[in-house]
């Protein structure tokens, strides 16, 4: 059993004095001004709650709440979360260790802004674990047709096609855990030699056969700390997904089709006002990329895909459309190039930005006059394209040297 060696003695002493807790809620960032009075609502149900908050300095004096205890733990997690784009999904190791030490029946890690948390939201993340024996509760954030585009275009459909589970936000950062799952996540993965909690938690849970559900949250998906640097975020996200493909190859190669994860609550789609979106600069970036990055793309893409891109560069802005099959092939071929280390991986992943922007441009043009239903239908089509093209990825994954026109 992993011990809390890195924790100061006073934290260990406090954990000993707490003894046990039904629910552990861990924040990965926290300010003294953040309000936690809503926690009283959780304790009303007779639950013994511990709230763990990070910080490098002074311990915050909270107003006492019956049934709720507070624990200050070392601040390594938020620092990593804020500073390194590589860890934009946070590391939950400390919170999970605390929950395990206290033998909690359910644990919730909150990575979004603390002021967004409320009793209802936290309850929706822990109740499925306490009442219905789910192991991982993933939030379904509010969707919008021009929101969370990396998730809509890559993460969600790719997870569905490869791992066979339909999860709206597979890389959500506010999660609920069962004791079984947190015990597993604390362990060090013998292949990567890092704790499983610092890997992609959703695929960890899927591959371990854990019970997963989704719960609707009326809040937008959180942005990474430095969301202006699209290239870094995209490289971090794709790097995480593609590395996972290698690690879980045995699982996803056997997985067929897809099924929905049970969902609680009514998912909410934000209606966006009709706005005139100018995609000219997105297309310009793609065309500039085609002129300058052909050598790099040529190492990853097959000649047929490259030819399609060449045709696309000649399209006018109004007629600019990237087919789903082409986009899916691009994603799969970059995954293959990442696996084969065709070139420096960071360069490879960053060079995908103009291609992603071209997909965004095409998708935006298609979605301009489409309602919320139409937008869900459009994403379903894309997800099916990912599923239909999976045999292509599988074949090239297994026989990389086979001729690919």
């Amino acid at each position: 059993m992993p011990e809390l060696e890195s924790f100061p003695q006073e934290v260990k002493d406090q954990l000993t004095s707490v003894g046990s807790a039904d629910v552990v809620i861990g924040f990965t960032s926290f300010k003294a001004t953040d309000d936690l009075s809503w926690a009283a609502g959780l304790a009303q149900d007779g639950l013994n709650v511990l709230i763990a908050y990070p910080g490098g300095g002074d311990v915050i004096e909270f107003q006492p709440i019956a049934g709720v205890q507070f624990l200050h733990y070392p601040a390594s997690t938020p620092e990593r979360y804020l500073n390194a784009p590589k860890n934009i999904f946070g590391s939950f190791q400390e919170v999970l260790q605390i929950a395990q030490r206290l033998a909690s029946k359910s644990c919730c890690v909150w990575n979004s802004a603390p002021q967004l948390a409320s009793a209802d939201i936290i309850e929706s993340l822990i109740k499925p674990v306490l009442d219905q024996n789910f192991d991982l509760v993933i939030p379904g954030y509010t969707t919008a047709k021009f929101g969370a585009l990396i998730n809509s275009g890559i993460i969600c459909p790719l997870t569905r096609a490869l791992y066979g589970r339909r999860i709206e936000f597979p890389m959500a950062v506010d999660l609920g855990f069962s004791p079984q799952l947190l015990n597993r996540l604390i362990q060090v993965d013998p292949n990567t030699r890092v704790p499983r909690s610092s890997q992609w938690i959703t695929t960890e849970a899927i591959c371990a056969g854990m019970q997963i559900c989704q719960t609707a949250l009326l809040m937008e998906p959180p942005r990474p700390p430095d969301s202006s640097d699209l290239s870094s975020i995209l490289a971090a996200v794709l790097g995480r997904i593609f590395s996972d493909l290698e690690r879980n190859a045995a699982f996803w190669q056997r997985s067929k089709g897809s099924r929905s994860a049970p969902a609680f609550g009514e998912p909410y789609t934000k209606e966006q006002d009709e706005v005139a979106v100018d995609v000219t600069h997105l297309i310009e970036t793609f065309q500039l990329g085609y002129r300058n990055l052909s050598e790099i793309w040529g190492l990853a893409l097959s000649p047929a895909t490259f030819l399609e891109l060449k045709k696309l560069t000649k399209s006018s802005t109004a007629a600019f459309r990237m087919g789903d099959d082409l986009w899916v092939r691009i994603v799969y071929e970059f995954a293959l190039a990442h696996r084969q280390r065709a070139m420096n991986r960071d360069h490879l992943l960053r060079s995908m930005t103009p291609l992603y922007l071209s997909w965004v441009a095409s998708y935006t043009l298609q979605m301009l006059d489409v309602s919320a239903d139409g937008f869900h239908h459009r994403l379903e089509q894309l997800a099916l394209a990912y599923e239909n093209q999976k045999p292509y990825l599988l074949s090239r994954w297994r026989w990389p040297d086979r001729f690919n026109p």
Binding site: F146, A148, P221, G289, N292, L293, V360
Partner: protein
């Protein structure tokens, strides 16, 4: 008189033949040394190739971040390593053969060559690292500039590449002790000149262009935040 001429000719022929006779064992020794070193190089190359293949050296080199080595040279990293080792053995054999000559001059040349050897190795190392760094950084700049929609991305990348190559060349020449101070001064003038030219170009000629470009970037970023959310 004729007798004296004949005697002088005899003596000179004898001296030349004696010299050649003295050199002959050296030549034979050189040939033998070359032959032996070539055989040794072949044997070592054979063993080394098998050893590196058993270690999956090519895959490991790719994992260390040098996957372009094959596309740059057209040879696999194993081939390159084996060739370097084989040629080093042949060159060492050649130098051993050269020392078989008893002539003082050859011995001096050989000892000077040995003394120069570390400089040569250091220069080659600097060149290799410099070439790899130039490629890496020029590609980083190219990708970064394209992603920021900078129209002159290729020019920027070329500039970075040649800046690093020029710096590397100057360092290698310094290690080889070729050119002395001229290289340092030429490099300082060239490097300073490039920086000054760029500063003048941006400061005087392209000031408005740069400002407009930066403003356009900022406007686009703001528009994006309002309408499209990537995460």
């Amino acid at each position: 008189m004729w007798q004296q001429v004949s005697q002088a000719l005899d003596q000179s022929v004898t001296r030349v033949v004696t010299r050649i006779a003295l050199l002959l064992p050296g030549f034979v020794a050189l040939l033998v040394a070359l032959l032996v070193s070539w055989l040794a190089a072949w044997a070592v190359g054979f063993v080394l190739r098998r050893f590196l293949r058993s270690l999956e050296f090519d895959r490991k080199v790719a994992r260390w971040g040098l996957p372009e080595l094959r596309s740059e040279t057209g040879r696999s990293p194993t081939d390159i390593a084996v060739r370097v080792v084989c040629w080093a053995i042949v060159i060492i054999g050649f130098l051993v053969g050269m020392t078989a000559f008893e002539a003082t001059l050859t011995s001096r040349i050989v000892s000077q060559m040995f003394a120069y050897f570390p400089n040569l190795i250091a220069a080659i190392f600097v060149l290799l690292v410099g070439a790899a760094a130039a490629r890496f950084f020029s590609r980083s700049v190219l990708i970064g500039a394209v992603n920021l929609n900078v129209q002159y991305a290729h020019l920027l990348s070329l500039g970075v590449k040649w800046l690093i190559l020029v710096l590397t060349g100057a360092m290698a020449l310094n290690h080889l002790e070729i050119g002395g101070k001229i290289v340092d001064e030429a490099f300082a003038i060239l490097f300073g000149g490039i920086v000054l030219t760029l500063a003048l170009a941006v400061g005087l000629g392209a000031r408005d262009l740069v400002r407009r470009s930066l403003e356009r970037q900022a406007d686009r970023a703001t528009e994006d935040v309002e309408t499209l959310r990537h995460f």
